[in-house]
Amino acid sequence: MAVKVFGFVGSNATYRVLASLYEKNVDFELVTVNMAAWEHKRPRFLARNPFGQVPAFEDGDVSLFESRAITKYVAEAYADKGTSLKSKDLKKSAIEGVWAEVEAQKFDPATAKLTWELFFKPLFGMTTDEAVVEEFSKKLEPVLDVYEARLTECKYLGGDSFSLADLHHLPNTQVLMGTKVKSQFDARPHVSAWAADILARPAWVKVTSLLPK
């Protein structure tokens, strides 16, 4: 198969890439990297991503890492297939790009910490640090306030159409909806509606169905 994703079910960054491939109806093979066995820090995987992070990606002779660079490539390379993930109008796609940066620079730093403390640590038998949860919940508040204002102006973060700007939010948002942070989303009607909308997308539902029950 031409398209391969090297990652594993349970990696939020891997899910970001899988979501883009399902949206585009692009067939792919998910090659599991055994992180428990430290495979991601061994030479064979380091050749794919020298930072030893999942996912890595292959499409024929194109090799990439960093989930948000991969999704951009998928959006471009398969522009005419499946859902449009990037506006063909340059000005509109730049605005989508702004909100994709906001996800990377503002949303992810706050929410990645929260998913680690509230979801992953308990899964690994570790103890949640409530002080960190409180600190980063506070950091998330002003970000969601900006989102609430933005989403009163348009249906999606990047504009009136679903784009990578929204898609990049899916993995962390999915996890947080199963934690007490859900109340921060629910307290804001437009954010809440937007989250429900994007989490219900068929392509995203396919991604979540990969998780072992």
């Binding site: 020298p50 930072f51 002779d61 194109v62 990439l64 890492f65 960093e66 948000r68 660079a69 991969i70 951009k72 490539y73 471009e76 390379a77 340059l90 000005k91 730049a94 605005i95 790009g97 702004v98 994709a100 940066e101 906001v102 990377a104 620079q105 503002k106 730093p109 002003p142 970000v143 900006v146 204002a149 933005r150």
Partner: protein
Amino acid sequence: MVVKVYGPAYASPKRVLVCLVEKEIEFETVPVDLIAGENLTPDYLKLQPFGSLPVIQDGDYTLFESRAIIRYYAEKYKSQGTDLLGKTLEEQGLVNQWLEVEAHNYHPPLYTLVLHTMFSGHMGVVRNEQVIKESEEKIGKVLDVYEDRLSKSKYLAGDFFSLADLSHLPFTNYLVGPVGKGYMIKERKHVSAWWDDISSRPSWLKVLEICK
């Protein structure tokens, strides 16, 4: 009408300025004083709702997030000035990849280091030696990866200067300057050569001159 770039005294806006110079795009700058809280006025928040720098105004078109801005101008003026994006989808994929690396692996610990060494006492930051030590270790690990990459490739994305290299200029300039950790660059042969190359580009020297 000329592009307006807000906040030239600070690092992230310089990412935009050096891109505009490379692309031979005219601009004017609008000062914003972070210490005096000018980024938190209602007028500024209308333009950039997070109160971060930079924001640009191009006629009635507004954009924020420096890496989104540089991608826009590199694309819009593709056929003018330096090519910063790459010619094929594959090259563009690599440019985006290393731009993400800069954003997610390099920038966060370097930003923390800058806050603790240069801006202690402002913006709610108090200098913490342990944080400084840990940040330096994290940056060192990333630079080790860069050292290996740059032993095989002249620039990060390939044999051409791109947005991926450009994005490193402003904060690395702090690292080798006021932060006082230039040895981190100098003691890595290929990183050092790459830094000497990109930091001596006329575009970067011009930005430093304008923003004196």
